[in-house]
C-alpha cells in the first residue's frame, strides 16, 4: 500500500477513555477536503457515513492483489478471494453474535434484506385476514415491502402509532397484537428522528405469542453493539455504508430454523448444488440466498469497517456520539423558532428539526454554502412527517468523528439562514 497514506491511529486505550477524535479524524481522507472554501463539516451520517483509509485500502488491496470469482475456481486467486469473502462472513457472525455463519447472508443492503424476508418468508405463509405489524416510525424500506406482500396475499398491514416524543407506543402495540399477527417488523433506531426503540420489550411480547420479529438495524449497527441472540429476534437487517463500509453491501441475519424452511428468493449461480432441466437442488445456507457473484469487495470492506469500529470500541463510539447529541440538542434549543422533532429520552445522535418561516430545503442550501452537509426532506419516512404535520425536516446526524466545534459551525450557519431568509 501507499506508504504516504496516513496510518490507522487507534491507540490501545482503555475502554473508559474517551476517543481521541482529533487523531482518528486523520483516518478519514475526505474529512480534510473543503466545500465552498470551508472545511467540510459532514453531518449527514444517518444517510451514509464516511470511510476510513483502512476500509478504502482493504477494497483496493483486494482488487490489486487477489480478485477472482469466489466458490468456483481451484486456482490460487479464487481461493484467496473465497477466504477473504468467507472470512468477512465470520467477522459479521461474530459482530452480531449469530449462532452460526449459516445465518449470515450477504445482500445489497437493508432494503434488499427486508424484501427477501417479505417475499421468501412472509409471502408463502400469508393469506387474507393475516396481519403484519410495523410501526409509524419506519423507513419506507420497512413499509413498502410489506405493503407489496399484503397486496400479493390479501394480508393486512397494521401500524403501531407513535407518541408526540417520537416513541413507539407500547400499550397500543399490545392492543394491536392479534391471533392473526404473523410478523412484527420494527426499526431498531429511527432514521428520521433518532429514537432508539426499546425492541427487547416488543420482541419478548411477540415471541411469547409465537410471532417472529424482524429488526431494521440500518441505523443501529453504526452506533451500538448488537447481539442477535440477546435480542432474540428472528431477522436482523443492516447496511455497510452507514457504518463506514462500502455501499452495495449489507447483511440479513436470520434464525437458522426459519431460513432453512424458506425457499430461495432469486435463482442463479452459487445458490445451487446441481441443475438439470428436470430438477435443481438448492445449495445449503447461507448460499441458498446468494444467487450470482456476490459483492466480494463490499463484504471484505464491510469486515474491515467492523474491525475498525471494534478497535475504537463500540461503547466508546456510543459515548462520544451521545456527547455530540447532548451538545447539539442544547445549542439548537438556543435558536428562537427552532423546534426539534423527536424528543425520546433514548436517541441515537440524530437531530431532526424545523425552523419557523424557513423551509428545510433552504436551510440545506444555505448550510451547504457554508460547507455544512445535512439532510433535508422527508428522510424516506413520509408517515413520520405527516404525523408531526411537517412536509420535511432538516436533519443533522453525527458520527464519532464529528466534533462539538462542527456543531458550533452548524449553529453559525443556521444563524446565517435566519439572516438571509428571516
Amino acid at each position: 500500500m501507499n506508504a504516504a497514506r496516513p496510518a490507522l491511529r487507534t491507540p490501545a486505550a482503555a475502554a473508559h477513555e474517551p476517543l481521541d477524535v482529533a487523531a482518528l479524524r486523520t483516518d478519514f481522507p475526505v474529512l480534510s477536503r473543503e466545500v465552498n472554501g470551508r472545511p467540510l463539516c459532514y453531518l449527514d451520517n444517518a444517510a451514509s457515513s464516511q470511510r476510513p483509509q483502512a476500509v478504502i485500502d482493504s477494497v483496493s488491496r483486494y482488487y490489486e492483489t487477489c480478485h477472482a470469482n469466489v466458490h468456483r475456481g481451484v486456482h490460487r486467486l479464487s481461493q484467496e478471494a473465497t477466504e477473504l469473502f468467507e472470512g468477512a462472513r465470520d467477522t459479521v457472525q461474530r459482530f452480531l453474535n449469530a449462532r452460526s455463519r449459516r445465518e449470515v447472508i450477504f445482500l445489497r443492503g437493508t432494503t434488499e434484506a427486508v424484501n427477501l424476508v417479505a417475499q421468501s418468508y412472509a409471502r408463502p405463509r400469508l393469506g387474507p385476514g393475516d396481519e403484519i405489524l410495523i410501526s409509524w416510525l419506519e423507513h419506507h424500506a420497512n413499509i413498502v415491502p410489506w405493503q407489496m406482500v399484503c397486496e400479493q396475499t390479501g394480508a393486512t398491514l397494521k401500524v403501531i402509532p407513535i407518541t408526540r416524543s417520537g416513541e413507539v407506543d407500547f400499550e397500543a402495540f399490545l392492543g394491536l397484537l392479534s391471533p392473526r399477527t404473523r410478523l412484527l417488523a420494527l426499526a431498531h433506531v429511527s432514521n428520521a428522528l433518532g429514537t432508539v426503540v426499546p425492541v427487547e420489550r416488543f420482541i419478548a411480547e411477540a415471541r411469547s405469542r409465537g410471532i417472529p420479529v424482524l429488526l431494521d438495524g440500518a441505523q443501529a449497527t453504526p452506533h451500538m453493539p448488537v447481539d442477535v441472540q440477546a435480542l432474540d429476534c428472528d431477522f436482523y437487517c443492516f447496511s455497510g455504508h452507514k457504518m463506514c463500509g462500502p455501499t452495495g453491501i449489507g447483511v440479513l441475519y436470520g434464525r437458522e430454523s426459519l431460513l432453512s424452511e424458506m425457499a430461495p428468493w432469486q435463482g442463479g449461480g452459487d445458490m445451487i448444488l446441481a441443475v438439470s432441466f428436470e430438477r435443481t437442488i438448492y445449495n445449503e445456507l447461507p448460499y441458498k440466498f446468494e444467487a450470482g457473484t456476490p459483492h466480494i469487495a463490499g463484504a471484505i470492506g464491510l469486515a474491515e469497517a467492523i474491525r475498525y469500529l471494534e478497535t475504537l470500541g463500540l461503547e466508546r463510539i456510543a459515548a462520544a456520539e451521545h456527547e455530540l447529541l447532548r451538545h447539539a440538542t442544547a445549542r439548537l434549543n438556543e435558536i428562537p423558532g427552532l423546534r426539534i422533532i423527536g424528543t425520546a429520552p433514548d436517541k441515537a445522535a440524530v437531530v431532526s428539526f424545523v425552523v419557523d418561516g424557513i423551509h428545510p430545503h433552504d436551510i440545506g442550501t444555505i448550510l451547504d454554502h457554508e460547507g455544512v452537509a445535512i439532510r433535508t426532506g422527508h428522510h424516506c419516512a413520509m408517515p413520520v412527517m405527516e404525523f408531526f404535520g411537517v412536509p420535511a425536516t432538516a436533519r443533522a446526524s453525527f458520527a464519532f468523528y464529528n466534533t462539538t466545534a462542527e456543531i458550533d459551525r452548524l449553529l453559525e450557519a443556521l444563524q446565517l439562514a435566519r439572516e438571509v431568509l428571516g
Binding site: I358, H359, H378, P391, L416, L421
Partner: protein, 148 residues
C-alpha cells in the same frame, strides 16, 4: 457563487409575502405539483376568458424558491394569452437549465431574479415546479405533476 445570487431581495420578498396565494372556487383549470425530493407541494388555479388567462392563483407549501417562483409566475402571466404563457414557460426553462448566461432576460421582468438558481443545480426543480404545473393546468386538465 454567492447566496445572494439565489436569495435575491425579490425572491425573499415573494417568499415572505406570496402574491395571489389563495384558492379559486371558480377556476376553470387546476393542477397539482409535487416535488418528492423536498416535499414542495402546490396547487395552481387558472380562470380563462377565451384563450386569455383572466386570473391565476396558487396554494401549497414549499421552500423559498418554489413559493417565490410560483408567486412571480402568477404576477407575470395574469392577463396573458395561453400562447404567451407557453412561450414564457420555454424561456424560463432555458433560464433555469441553460449552461450559459446567454438567455435574453429582457422581457422577463421580475422573473429574471430566478436566473441565479442555475448555479444551484439541486434547486432547479424547486423553481420549475410551478411552471410544469401551469403547463399541466393549461394543457392536461386535472393532471398531477411530479418533478421525479
Amino acid at each position: 457563487m454567492d447566496l445572494k445570487d439565489l436569495y435575491r431581495d425579490v425572491i425573499v420578498d415573494h417568499n415572505r409575502n406570496p402574491r395571489n396565494f389563495r384558492p379559486m372556487p371558480d377556476a376553470d383549470r387546476q393542477a397539482e405539483g409535487f416535488n418528492p425530493l423536498c416535499g414542495d407541494r402546490l396547487t395552481l388555479f387558472v380562470r380563462l376568458d377565451g384563450d386569455r388567462i383572466a386570473d391565476v392563483s396558487f396554494q401549497g407549501s414549499g421552500c423559498a424558491i418554489s413559493v417565490a417562483s410560483a408567486s412571480l409566475l402568477t404576477e407575470s402571466i395574469k392577463g396573458r394569452s395561453i400562447e404567451e404563457a407557453d412561450r414564457l414557460f420555454g424561456t424560463m426553462h432555458e433560464l433555469l437549465t441553460s449552461d450559459e448566461a446567454g438567455v435574453d432576460t429582457a422581457g422577463l421582468g421580475k422573473l429574471a431574479a430566478l436566473s441565479g438558481v442555475r448555479e444551484f443545480p439541486a434547486r432547479v426543480k424547486c423553481a420549475s415546479l410551478c411552471w410544469h404545473t401551469l403547463e399541466a393546468a393549461l394543457h392536461r386538465q386535472d393532471a398531477a405533476v411530479s418533478t421525479e
